[in-house]
Symmetry: D2
Amino acid sequence: MPYGEDKCTKRLQTKFAELFETEVTVFPVTTGTAANALALSVMVPPFGAVYCHAAAHINVDECGAPELYTGGAKLLTLPGSNGKVYAQDLTNAIASSGKGVVHHVQPAAISITQTTEAGTVYSQSEVRQIAEVAHTHHLNLHMDGARFANAVASLGCSPADITWRSGVDVLCFGATKNGAMAAEAVIFFNQDLAQTFSYRRKRSGHLLSKMRFLSAQLETYVTNDLWLKNAAHANKMAEKLATELTKLPGVKFCYPVEANEIFIQLPEAVIAGLMADGFQFYRWEGEHSTTVRLVTAFDTKYESVDALIKAAQFYSDCFDCKKT
Amino acid sequence: MPYGEDKCTKRLQTKFAELFETEVTVFPVTTGTAANALALSVMVPPFGAVYCHAAAHINVDECGAPELYTGGAKLLTLPGSNGKVYAQDLTNAIASSGKGVVHHVQPAAISITQTTEAGTVYSQSEVRQIAEVAHTHHLNLHMDGARFANAVASLGCSPADITWRSGVDVLCFGATKNGAMAAEAVIFFNQDLAQTFSYRRKRSGHLLSKMRFLSAQLETYVTNDLWLKNAAHANKMAEKLATELTKLPGVKFCYPVEANEIFIQLPEAVIAGLMADGFQFYRWEGEHSTTVRLVTAFDTKYESVDALIKAAQFYSDCFDCKKT
Amino acid sequence: MPYGEDKCTKRLQTKFAELFETEVTVFPVTTGTAANALALSVMVPPFGAVYCHAAAHINVDECGAPELYTGGAKLLTLPGSNGKVYAQDLTNAIASSGKGVVHHVQPAAISITQTTEAGTVYSQSEVRQIAEVAHTHHLNLHMDGARFANAVASLGCSPADITWRSGVDVLCFGATKNGAMAAEAVIFFNQDLAQTFSYRRKRSGHLLSKMRFLSAQLETYVTNDLWLKNAAHANKMAEKLATELTKLPGVKFCYPVEANEIFIQLPEAVIAGLMADGFQFYRWEGEHSTTVRLVTAFDTKYESVDALIKAAQFYSDCFDCKKT
Amino acid sequence: MPYGEDKCTKRLQTKFAELFETEVTVFPVTTGTAANALALSVMVPPFGAVYCHAAAHINVDECGAPELYTGGAKLLTLPGSNGKVYAQDLTNAIASSGKGVVHHVQPAAISITQTTEAGTVYSQSEVRQIAEVAHTHHLNLHMDGARFANAVASLGCSPADITWRSGVDVLCFGATKNGAMAAEAVIFFNQDLAQTFSYRRKRSGHLLSKMRFLSAQLETYVTNDLWLKNAAHANKMAEKLATELTKLPGVKFCYPVEANEIFIQLPEAVIAGLMADGFQFYRWEGEHSTTVRLVTAFDTKYESVDALIKAAQFYSDCFDCKKT
């Protein structure tokens, strides 16, 4: 049966309800950008505003997808250390937003990313405080969970605790970065918001006729804790990297390492050496930046991590790097 | 390398250039709706009009995707026997469209479907005549090729002949209905139109990070004529069905059978019998309709076709059906 | 006080509530296109459909404004003699629309024009039947009333009777064509639909800072029945024209003349003569058409009507026109 | 003749060409929000970005109109003292924007406001530097001139000098704030950008049928330097206010006073007193703010300014205000 009427897709509803210990409505899509933008499209009106961190993926890395799918809603950015939005900043922003005044876009949602774009993880308490502000002012709470698995593995809590029990209305549950080919699930804890989603997914071309190939990825992913095992491995590899790299002279971590991403300043000699050795990573702030991002994954091998560490130590020693 | 920078995706450019015997730009996406709507989004302005057959998939089966992606352009429908648009009707429509008059949406593209929604196939001459009208009036010509393979197999021409050599500017080349999991390619013969496509694909969430899994489907599909073999098989199965069903009393074909779809009126007793036996097909005009659509596919077995024919004969005999 | 906080604008709410004998919310805007498109934007979702007559102004004369303001909703046209939509056609259209099926745009509103684009007038009974079908299927009923005054003057009923008492949810109440400089009022009988209108008006640039100049036009217009007097005069002038023109040989009325527009086939010699004499009107179906539209207005003078009639008689006699 | 085919509207083209000493295309609309958003809609693609000051009217006071009209383009804000964008900040922003990278919205325009939202005025040199950066990177330069007259009066230059001669592509030339009822003109110096504007104006409902009433305001406005006289008067009134208020203890100007707006911190006692006396102005940063905005206009009377000054002095003396 096509277009999601197959058995595998139907089973997903139950699978995710069990995983999240509550009723949910689940919509598989193929990309995180589609998941986020479609989710936001049912959470805000075209004249609405979505608060998010200035570094949020929806704000800087989706080429305006939220604007397209919401019919022109506006992303309003908040500052926040370690890539996080803080409840107090949200409160202040809403207070000065001109709510009810026709000249201004109207606050309608807040989007947070878990794991954040800085590789850090919101605690339950942090999410709960944001949710409280949001719901007090009738904003919906969206969680971009492209790296949700890494956050849950890091927190060691249940998926329910860090989502609906903390006030999240809609979660974009990512699988692609953690092992799937191309699979994300938009999960509605707030059922009212789910009602028009299927039409919006179809009219954006994100309803697959052979949905079973997409759903099968998600089903496997959440069976036997595969998703958490994958994430825990990636996190462990990042921790190992961080533990060893911190011993080198001249390095500086930009943010706490809490999941599978490391943002770190390295001596130029070390960066150049690693690159010459074929390690692949981005200079994070332009081509001359000595801040780099190191990402570990579900399939990162111990040996690769060891090799990177050894290479970094070698180049560090070699060039007698000084602390910057 | 993510986001289409992989080798397989890069190879697609060459593969399709060879297949179509000309320079092309190829963008893989996962669904036909996405392919069509994104293609149209670079072919018409928001205040533009797209002519198409009243029965066109873009008009009735995409939940408004073209309207979303074009920023509100309008589909203007044309009549036409056997599911086809005819050049003369297009000429007339443009003549009365109010071109240059600010009150009216401005004709900017014509979209035709090959194989049509009626299962018929445009000849080269028919496409060429449409293209001539289109280009004379500065309209772009879009071909929805969800079943393009079946048309080429039916025509026995080269892919080039029925597309750019006949004046097609952009082709949505379908693979999903003919064997792929979820893969379509938007193929630009008119390179000027391709320039902003990559941004539009990204902002609609249709750029896959692990593009290689999508490109691999397309590469296999066009290698060693697999796509044409699949389509030829499906067409042959449809021909077989048509040849036999026409012998039954009381049947009437709605359109010529030229590819892999049959639209046929059957006696109710035959329909009911086939359904009771587990054959799956749609009543085409509502739940009491005795017009049904029979579709054969790349994987339709000879035995299945035989079984259907035998069952139809059995129910026809049994109930002593009269010619309607 | 700017932006509609002035006294005149506030008085409009009461004025219109009295005029329509019920609670209303009134939003002044400057054009009929803005009124219609903004009204529809709160009546349908982006994946929705608006039924309307094929000749509806929203469909053919607004350059896609409804599509822009609704975020891409689709206008689905209905046939209908004398420029009218009929309840039965609406019923049939909804029945075959695929309501609830994700592939199709979802019926959400029906728009009728009163006075119609053919110069005819819906009776209360006709509107009521349409409303009944609409509301049974949860569609909103929009009335484009660019020539609403002429319809009310023609019907001799109260404005309430032909709108909310007959089931209209939102009326675009025109004044520009009947004497104002640039003033239309969007009138909500269904208050739920009004809630986000003010934001949508602002973000489309249709909220005037010096709103009082707009509201003053509307206030004057509905004071002391000026609007009805203007319309009655225009209607009377049209009636006079029709009564006399019908006596000429070779003329044929396209539709009943019920308000201030006449669609009439005239002998070419008469058309050419009238044009040569400086009378201004459109050939209605292209430059060689002998169907013309004659429109009378609030300020059409008796003498002008007489002059046209005399001229028509002169050219008719002169050229010895035969009945076509 | 309707829809701008009247003589008055046609004369505007010549009038403005003379005023700006170059070929221009002029489109009258009724509001500044419509002017800005429509202008931007032809300057950026839907996946584009518009740079502007964080305090820009288009960013904070138009309820998302630019997002609606551009089909979802993004406004990216720049800091800048005295309400101004500076060329160096624009350079830096473009450099880190990810131009050519598909994940990011693409820089396509820069919008500056003249007179700025802080009541300051860009010099020719400042505009020229911004234009140079913009054009080097293929961005269009938009000037929001809601208070353009006040800027020209303040600079004492020709309108040409501060616009196209300094590199402005499109100017929104305001009249409403400086004497008109509701009239703005979108003026294209870059003719290529003007080509689709008329369709976009129509489909947004901003094409008036009786355009002459709108054009007449603009024609009068630019005849015999009325616009400059009005602005010069308003500026003078502001200067007078500033000169006297600066003498009071405890006052602080937020920005230089260069046109007809004063942003000033006043002792609470003075603010309360002035309000009690019936003077109307906004507290600028919320209801407890002691920063107020004083705006003078074309019709501000000398006596009113004197009265305000005297009252301010009285309340200042009375309460023995200290310097803050």
